[in-house]
Symmetry: C2
Subunit: 217 residues, 2 copies
């Protein structure tokens, strides 16, 4: 019986190889995208060379080109992958979610790669491909942040009718200006006070905007 | 008598010339600083040439060099002059003061020179002289904004013990991120809702930070 339940050698080999190949392909993609992210932080967008990504990831240049025919596609894929890693988040409270998101960014900006990517986005923003990359990240983050706030409204932590875009601008704009544009430290207490101030102001009813003003935005 | 009170021709001429010379010197300084500001907005810091400032202002290059021996000194003087123009402000209420400051910046950022200077500060921030310029502007604005908030605390519009730096980060960081880094419009209603939300949150007591956290900043 034990002997019968064992698949014949050919089938077993095929199945094993299938798993191995899929696993290897995923590892290659992950290695290339991580290397791209690191190179981007190191030299920026204009100076990024596929050769250096190949050397850093240990993946052949032609393999990289086959999957991502242009530098713009490769870098966009690496940005999406980095942003997706932080997509799923639910601490149970709006304050907890916002604080987690903010402190994650604070820690990212303390790494050389994170600092380099921020620098790249500012210094090379005249490059339309860099602007397109910034838009990918911005849209991804805005969707995530809007979802967090809507969950907070559903739980009654924010009043219905609050302008979510305004709340996002105040909390993230306020903290990131300090962190990124002025290069100053943001402690967890500081971030919490910022979040609490904006939530308290919104709960006092000050973050509503007329439809007219919303259309104007 | 009328004849006696009239100064003798020589004295009169000297005094008139004195006035004329001082007036002319001021006009020269103002023309050069304005031209510098405009050139900075047009080409940025690295590419700015004293020759072009001379041509735009109609002032001789050697006259410019005599007063401002280096490009860094000339540009710093032009930044200070532009910032000083908006130093004095008192609408009588904190909300009015903040809204005036914000909407002034919104309008400045809509001019080609304003947009160019913002672009220069981002794209050339790796240049230590540009970083020094940004610091001049930042310090000047922070002093002005802190003074506005302290007047608001004195008038009872904000609770004592509020962290003024946090309030400044939230209001200005929030609005300027939208305006400058995302290039989106900021309507007066939007700015007012942002200011009201942060003031309401601060009045609810959420913008206090322990001494420890303040020291950490």
């Amino acid at each position: 019986m034990r002997h019968d339940s064992t698949p014949p050698p050919a089938q077993r080999t095929r199945r094993t190889e299938g798993t191995r190949v899929r696993g290897r392909a995923e590892r290659v993609v992950s290695a290339v995208l991580t290397a791209t992210h690191e190179e981007l932080g190191r030299v920026g967008y204009g100076a990024l060379r596929i050769e250096d990504v190949a050397a850093r990831s240990g993946v052949n240049k032609t393999t990289i080109y086959r999957r991502w025919p242009t530098k713009a596609e490769l870098v966009a894929a690496s940005m999406r992958a980095a942003a997706e890693e932080e997509e799923f988040l639910d601490t149970g409270t709006l304050r907890g979610d916002l604080l987690t998101v903010v402190m994650r960014t604070v820690r990212t900006c303390q790494t050389p790669t994170g600092r380099g990517i921020v620098r790249m986005m500012q210094m090379e923003r005249a490059d339309p491909e860099v602007e397109a990359l910034s838009r990918i990240l911005r849209d991804q983050r805005r969707r995530r942040n809007t979802a967090l706030l809507e969950r907070g409204i559903a739980r009654g932590e924010l009043p219905a009718g609050v302008n979510t875009e305004l709340i996002i601008d105040l909390i993230f704009g306020g903290i990131y200006t300090r962190l990124i544009h002025r290069g100053e430290d943001v402690s967890e207490d500081y971030a919490a006070a910022a979040i609490d101030t904006v939530i308290a102001g919104a709960c006092a009813g000050a973050a509503r905007l007329s439809n007219e003003s919303q259309q104007q935005k």
